[in-house]
C-alpha cells in the first residue's frame, strides 16, 4: 500500500507574525519557515506504517512555488521514498489543494492519505475533509491513534467530548492531531541520502486544476490588545481584587 502525505511549508510556530502597517498582508520576508508541525506528524506516522510493513511506499506532496524543493528534501531526509511538487505561483486555498490532491490520488492510487488537521499559518482545518468528500471516501480527522488491519483503519480521534474511535474502510483520509506521535529528528546521513531521491514536479494547470472558488482576502489587521494588567503581591491582594470585580 502506498501512503500519500501532505507536507506544507509554513512560518515557524515560534515566529510572532506581524501584520503589515497597510493591512495588505502579514510580513513574511526573512522569517523562518518550517514544515507544518501536523504534517511532520503525518509523515512520521506514514514512515512507522512502512517500517511495520503495513505500507510499501511513502510519498510526500508539496504544493507551492519553485523553491519548495528544499522543503521537500526535508521530507525525503526524514524518510519518504519520493516527493511530488505541485508547482504554483501563489499559495493555494484548501479547496484547490484538495482538488490537486485528488488528481494525485487518482494517479497514485494510495491506500491511505495522511494530512495534518490544520496548517498553522491559515489555521483552516479543511483540506483533509475536502479531499475525502471529493474522493467520496471516509475521513477520520484529529487522529491520536491509528491502527490498520485487513483493509480497515481504526482511528482514535481527539474530539471535544473525549476520545472517539471510528472504524473506516480504506482507502481513506486521516488527519493528524498533536499526540499521534513524536516526529523523528533528521540525521546528517539521511540528508545525504535524500539527495538521490526523486522529486517529481507538476504544474497545477497540468494536473487539470484551476485555482478558483476562492475567498478573497480584503484586509489584514492586528488583533486587539488586552490592556496591561496589574501585579498583586500576595493571595490576599488577589482575592480582594477578584472580589472587587465581583468575580468571586
Amino acid at each position: 500500500m502506498k501512503i500519500l502525505v501532505g507536507y506544507k511549508r509554513v512560518v515557524d510556530y515560534n515566529v510572532r507574525v506581524q501584520v503589515k502597517p497597510d493591512g495588505s498582508g502579514v510580513a513574511t520576508e526573512g522569517v523562518k519557515l518550517s514544515p507544518n508541525p501536523f504534517d511532520e506528524i503525518a509523515l512520521e506516522e506514514a514512515l512507522r506504517l512502512r517500517e511495520r510493513g503495513v505500507a510499501s511506499e511513502v510519498i510526500v506532496v508539496g504544493i507551492g512555488p519553485a523553491d519548495l524543493t528544499v522543503h521537500l528534501r526535508n521530507g525525503l531526509a526524514m524518510g519518504a521514498n519520493r516527493a511530488i511538487h505541485v508547482v504554483t505561483g501563489d499559495a493555494v486555498q484548501p479547496l484547490t489543494a484538495a482538488r490537486a490532491l485528488l488528481k494525485l490520488v487518482e494517479k497514485e492510487q494510495p491506500g491511505l492519505v495522511i494530512l495534518g488537521k490544520q496548517a498553522i499559518d491559515d489555521d483552516n482545518n479543511q483540506t483533509g475533509q475536502m479531499l475525502a468528500a471529493l474522493w467520496d471516501r471516509p475521513q477520520a480527522t484529529f487522529a491520536s491513534k491509528l491502527h490498520i488491519d485487513a483493509g480497515k483503519a481504526r482511528v482514535v480521534r481527539e474530539v471535544d467530548a473525549g476520545l472517539e474511535t471510528l472504524e473506516i474502510d480504506l482507502p481513506a483520509v486521516v488527519t493528524t492531531d498533536l499526540r499521534l506521535n513524536e516526529p523523528r529528528f533528521i540525521k546528517l546521513p539521511d540528508i545525504m541520502k535524500s539527495k538521490s531521491k526523486p522529486i517529481e514536479a507538476l504544474e497545477l494547470a497540468a494536473l487539470g486544476v484551476e485555482p478558483g472558488d476562492h475567498l478573497e482576502a480584503t484586509h489584514y489587521a492586528p488583533p486587539p490588545k488586552r490592556g496591561k494588567g496589574v501585579m498583586v503581591k500576595d493571595v490576599a491582594e488577589l482575592v480582594a481584587a477578584l472580589k472587587n470585580k465581583g468575580l468571586v
Binding site: Q129, A132, G162, E167, A217, P223
Partner: protein
C-alpha cells in the same frame, strides 16, 4: 434575502450551547434562520433549538443512520438541503470542523473557518496565525457561504418567548456505510463544561504529575470552575486531551480564567484572548502570560494554589 441553515450539534439528546452561539452569528447575517437537527431521535434537541430567539424554523430529521455525528453521513444530507439557503453554519467545534469542509467540498465552494465577525452577508473576519492576525475575507458572489463559527466570539442566543415551528423532514439521499462509530471514551465529569463554563482554572507543565494536578481540581471545585490545561500538561499525561486550551485545542471565553504554571505560549494565549479576566500564577516574573493577565502573582504554585483555595473556601 439571506437564509441561513445552522447544523445543530448535540450529544446524548441535548443541544450543545455552541449552536445557540451560531444563532447569534446568523442574526448578524440577517434574514431567516433555520436549524437542522440530524439525529436518530431528534425530538428533544429540536424542541431546544426551537426555543432559541431568532430561529425561524427547525428542520428535524429522524434517521437511525444519524445516531452518531459522522461527517461522511451528515454531509450529503446537509448538501441535499443547501439549495434553499445562502449561508450554512455550524460551530467551530470538533463537530463542525469535521463536517463543514466536507459539505463545502460537496458543494464545490470555499469555507470560512472560525468566523468571528460579520461585516455583511459576504464579508467576514477570521483569525489566522494562531490569532496573531485577523483576516477579512470576501466570499465569491453567487455562491453558498459555508462557515464554522468561532463560538468564543458570539453570545448564546436568548430563550424565545414563542417557540419556532418544528418540521419533520426526510432526506432521500444515499448514505455511506464505510465509516462506523466504535465508541467514545468520555472525560465527562460533574464539573462544568470547559467550553461553556463561566470560570476556568488551567494548569500547565509546572504541575509535574497527574497527582499534583489535584490541587488544580480542588481550586476549580472551590470556584465552581471547569478545568483546563496547556498542551504540555496534556502531552505529559497529567490530564485528558479534551482539556487542552489553545490554537489546536479549545478556544474559550470564560468570565474568569486562572492560568497556573503556564508560560503563556502564543498557541495557548489564542485560546483565552476573549476571557473576561485573566489571572496568572507563575514563579517566573518574566513569563509571557503576565503580558495579557489582568492580575499576576509571582511565586511557587505549590504554595500559592492551596493558599488561594483556602482563602476562597
Amino acid at each position: 434575502m439571506n437564509k441561513t441553515l445552522i447544523v445543530a450539534e448535540h450529544h446524548d439528546g441535548k443541544l450543545n450551547p455552541a449552536t445557540a452561539r451560531c444563532v447569534s452569528c446568523a442574526q448578524r447575517i440577517g434574514g431567516d434562520i433555520d436549524v437542522l437537527v440530524l439525529a436518530d431521535a431528534p425530538a428533544a434537541v429540536a424542541a431546544a433549538a426551537a426555543s432559541l430567539q431568532g430561529v425561524s424554523r427547525v428542520l428535524s430529521v429522524a434517521n437511525a443512520a444519524n445516531v452518531h455525528a459522522l461527517a461522511a453521513v451528515y454531509a450529503p444530507q446537509v448538501k441535499a438541503l443547501a439549495a434553499d439557503y445562502t449561508h450554512l453554519l455550524a460551530p467551530s467545534t470538533t463537530f463542525g470542523k469535521d463536517l463543514m469542509p466536507r459539505v463545502a467540498a460537496l458543494l464545490g465552494v470555499a469555507q470560512v473557518s472560525d468566523l468571528m465577525q460579520v461585516e455583511d452577508a459576504q464579508h467576514f473576519v477570521r483569525p489566522i496565525y494562531a490569532g496573531n492576525a485577523l483576516l477579512t475575507v470576501a466570499t465569491p458572489a453567487g455562491q453558498t457561504v459555508v462557515a464554522t463559527v468561532r463560538t468564543a466570539s458570539w453570545p448564546e442566543a436568548a430563550a424565545a418567548t414563542q417557540p419556532a415551528p418544528i418540521e419533520s423532514r426526510s432526506i432521500d439521499v444515499a448514505l455511506p456505510t464505510h465509516t462506523r462509530f466504535i465508541g467514545l471514551e468520555s472525560g465527562a465529569s460533574d464539573r462544568p463544561d470547559l467550553q461553556s463554563a463561566a470560570r476556568v482554572v488551567s494548569g500547565g507543565r509546572a504541575l509535574g504529575s497527574a497527582d499534583n494536578f489535584k490541587i488544580i481540581y480542588a481550586l476549580a471545585d472551590t470556584l465552581g470552575a471547569a478545568v483546563g490545561a496547556s498542551r504540555a500538561a496534556v502531552d505529559a499525561g497529567y490530564v485528558p486531551s479534551d482539556l487542552q486550551v489553545g490554537q489546536t485545542g479549545k478556544i474559550i471565553a470564560p468570565q474568569l480564567y486562572v492560568a497556573i504554571g503556564i508560560s503563556g505560549a502564543i498557541q495557548h494565549l489564542t485560546g483565552i484572548k476573549d476571557a473576561g479576566t485573566i489571572v496568572a500564577i507563575n514563579k517566573d516574573a518574566e513569563a509571557p502570560i503576565f503580558e495579557i493577565a489582568d492580575f499576576g502573582l509571582v511565586g511557587d504554585l505549590f504554595k500559592l494554589v492551596p493558599e488561594l483555595q483556602q482563602a476562597l473556601a
